[in-house]
């Protein structure tokens, strides 16, 4: 016979006002197996907990119920107290008689709260009788991290983890780290030059002994679980031996072929063997294979001839490397909404209609024009520029419903950069409203308007078209209630920030969630902003949604601190609510394997002494299992069960209903 104790809490008057706690305790005493009951003012107070511990010892209890507030409040408290008194903590169960009884059934004339409390407590007692002691699961932790994406958020995360003394593998799909920030000219609100603040961080990441940079690489496959991930990474062939390359650049100099530069967003050309930009890290060129005549049809080979250390290998192939890590930080960033979507603004048709990032390149001293604002069509300095905000943003029909958050700020920055470079130039900004929340942001926008003469027009642009060699911008100025038409020499569109192409494929490899715009989901938008629902995988930066550099950096650091705290212990303890397979009855139908949302169930075999397979069966990987119980309901032969929520426990509760 079990020896169960029932502790009914009055919660001051919170429960006792509408539930007769004494009566509940008395009624429970009548049930078989219940040897001790009481009611008490505040069970969760320290005297309450002491009383509970004493009662466990005095009455040699082997299980207990606390009928009190929601288990979401104090289940941990009471389980800890039970453990301190020598009991298995999972032999302690909570009945929720506050949120489910006293607080929602106020009518005392019919004693409904008391009756319901009695029912619920009885159900929990019957369930408890079927409980088995459970042990927290200990998982060893591999203290190395993987960071995916080498933009500012990923670099920051990698640096912080490395500073904390742990190894980091930083995977970047482009030939250089740096991400979008490497493209920016100067940065709001302080106007530091982007390269000047970014390059030192990139170099630090390259030189830090704890960081292994894998550029031109992508994650192929992720297996395992928190503390124990196995990751396969494809190292795309650079056709250049990274170890031997000195970065002299002779090869780039001599390469006779050119193609469009993706980094410069079509504003200039680059060689077929190239580094994306002069400050690239690592400073190792790659050959753009589809455009290389040597690789395609064995013609040329100039680079190999001039390369001193002989590091060019036209036969080099992709390599797959496998790394074992304990945690993953995803920082894959953003891109701009493809411009083709904005036909009415003439993008693609009219050469002098560009997007904000292209303007950054024009304004950048290492950009295609050496930092002079020259329009793409004829290289002329435009005497006026029209900036159009919210292109694709805040417009569910044509683009996305959200605000891209940084466009108001960078457009103000662009008007300033333009004015500083073209003193007699006039800028116009079409906007819906100005969002300049952030430290010194509002002052920054005011400065653009008051100091640098940017003309802000509140309204939408309806059409941009070419007439007699001029670009005509037609729009409304809703403040003066008039139609405006501007003969523009250049137009800059602040196009929406969207998720990276392929963001969903990567999310599926990692088993993390994303929203309808394919931005990654945080575990909790307020309280757990850099975690994902998959334990051990963290997020940083614009892969979650639009944000600026300070926020991306803060998140990189936040994700790193989560990783470091995970790495601070050799083992981690997990709740033992996991599934387990009955080896004798499992008939290897694999229904559970397909049902499990976490791929936690593997196909396993039983072998005889000679090593012959005698039976196939399912096996649950406890490190991966999250305890949802989907498999249990899927198994038709009832061969898999969920610890803490077994069929026996649930049926016991239903049967005593």
């Amino acid at each position: 016979m079990p020896r169960i104790g029932v502790f009914v809490c009055q919660c001051g008057n919170n429960i006792a006002a509408t539930v007769d706690t004494k009566k509940v305790a008395e009624e429970m005493k009548k049930l078989p197996g219940v040897v001790f009951t009481c009611d008490y003012k505040f069970m969760c107070s320290s005297p309450g907990q002491e009383m509970l511990k004493q009662a466990i010892k005095d009455n040699k209890l082997d299980g207990l119920i606390v009928s009190a507030c929601s288990p979401h409040m104090h289940e941990k408290t009471f389980r800890k107290a039970a453990e301190a008194a020598g009991l298995n903590p999972y032999q302690c169960e909570i009945t929720n008689i506050r949120e489910q009884c006293s607080w929602v059934h106020h009518d005392t004339t019919k004693a409904v709260g008391t009756v319901k409390s009695i029912d619920l407590t009885r159900m929990t007692i019957e369930r408890l009788k079927k409980n088995r002691p459970l042990k927290k699961i200990k998982i060893p932790v591999k203290k190395r991290a993987l960071v995916i994406g080498g933009g500012i958020a990923g670099i920051q995360a990698a640096l912080d983890i490395a500073e904390g003394g742990r190894e980091v593998i930083l995977v970047e799909k482009e030939p250089s780290i740096g991400g979008n920030m490497a493209r920016l000219s100067e940065t709001f609100p302080t106007m530091d030059c982007s390269q000047c603040i970014l390059t030192p961080k990139m170099v630090e990441a390259e030189l830090n002994e704890n960081i292994t940079l894998l550029t031109y690489s992508e994650v192929e496959k992720v297996d395992g679980y928190i503390g124990n991930f196995t990751v396969q990474i494809r190292r795309k062939s650079k056709f250049v031996d990274e170890e031997r390359c000195t970065g002299c650049g002779e090869c780039i100099e001599k390469c006779p072929f050119k193609t469009e530069s993706a980094f410069e967003l079509g504003l200039s050309k680059r060689k077929v063997i190239y580094t994306p930009f002069p400050q690239s890290v690592p400073n190792v060129p790659v050959i753009d294979a589809p455009n290389c005549p040597k690789i395609q049809k064995d013609k040329c080979g100039a680079c190999a001839i001039v390369c001193g250390p002989k590091c060019i290998d036209f036969k080099m192939e992709d390599k797959i490397v496998t790394e074992e890590v304990g945690a993953i930080v995803v920082a894959t960033g953003y891109q701009l909404m493809p411009n083709e979507r904005f036909g009415e603004y003439g993008y693609g048709r009219i050469k002098d209609v560009i997007n904000g990032m292209q303007f950054e390149r024009l304004a950048s001293s290492s950009g295609p024009t050496g930092g002079e604002i020259r329009r793409p069509s004829d290289g002329k300095v435009p005497k006026n520029v029209v900036f159009i905000q919210c292109v694709g943003s805040r417009d569910e029909k044509k683009g996305v419903s959200y605000c891209s958050k940084v466009c108001c700020m960078y457009t103000a920055k662009h008007t300033m950069l333009y004015k500083h470079k073209v003193h007699d130039g006039q800028s116009y900004v079409f906007y819906m409203d100005i969002r300049s929340g952030g430290k010194r942001y509002e002052e920054f926008v005011r400065k653009a308007i008051e100091h640098d003469d940017a003309m802000y027009l509140r309204g939408r642009v309806s059409r941009v078209y070419e007439k007699d060699g001029k670009v005509i911008v037609q729009g409304a100025d809703t403040l003066s209630g008039s139609q405006v038409e501007i003969e523009a020499e250049m137009v800059v569109l602040a196009t929406a920030i969207v998720s990276r192409e392929g963001a969903d494929t990567l999310a599926q490899k990692l088993g993390i969630g994303y929203d309808k715009y394919k931005f990654y989901n945080e575990y909790h938008p307020k309280l757990r902003p850099v975690e994902t629902v998959t334990a051990g995988i963290f997020l940083a930066g614009t892969c979650m949604g639009p944000m600026d550099i300070p926020e991306s950096v803060a998140q990189g650091s936040a994700a790193a601190s989560k990783v470091l705290s995970l790495f601070s212990a050799d083992e981690m303890a997990r709740e033992p609510i996991t599934a387990g397979v009955n080896k004798t009855t499992c008939n290897a139908c694999w229904d559970c394997v397909t049902a499990c949302p976490y791929s936690a169930i593997e196909r396993d075999t039983v072998k005889d002494r000679q090593g012959n397979i005698v039976k196939w069966l399912a096996r649950v990987n406890e490190g991966v299992c999250q305890g949802c119980g989907v498999c249990v309901a899927a198994c038709r032969s009832k061969s898999i069960d969920l610890r803490g929520y077994t069929d026996e426990q649930v049926f016991a509760a239903i049967n005593s209903f």
């Binding site: 288990p71 489910q100 019919k110 629902v533 949302p597 949802c628 989907v630 309901a633 509760a653």
Partner: protein
Amino acid sequence: MTEHNAHTESTGGFEPKIMAFVCNWCTYAGADLAGTSRMEYRPNVRIIKLPCTGRIDPLFIIKAFENGADGVLVSGCHPGDCHYTTGNYHARRRWIGFKHLLEFTGIDMRRLHFSWVSASEAIKWVDLINKITDEVKALGPFMEYKGLKEKAAE
């Protein structure tokens, strides 16, 4: 069980018993919020908490009817919000198959409800419980399955 029935009968009129199978993360938390917000609702429901609606075996529902439930509710996170990403899709798929089966055996579908109640939808929870209770009350006690259990016991 008998005790509870005796009580309801003594207070006059038929008081249905509703069993609710809810997930820990959304609906259970939604019901908690109804509590912390001190909302009043019908006392006829008894909650059984499971990690996810995906854990819910159709047999639970049959057992609940056998043990005296006059109505059953299954509720979890909204589609797309399941704590375990897809558990509720499994639940919904199972539910659809199961519903047809029960309908076929002649159970009035007004006794059986499937809903999504999030952790912030205390009002939805309250309305749902009130609605189900009133509806099942109007239908009267559900005897067919209770009979089954007693027969099996004989």
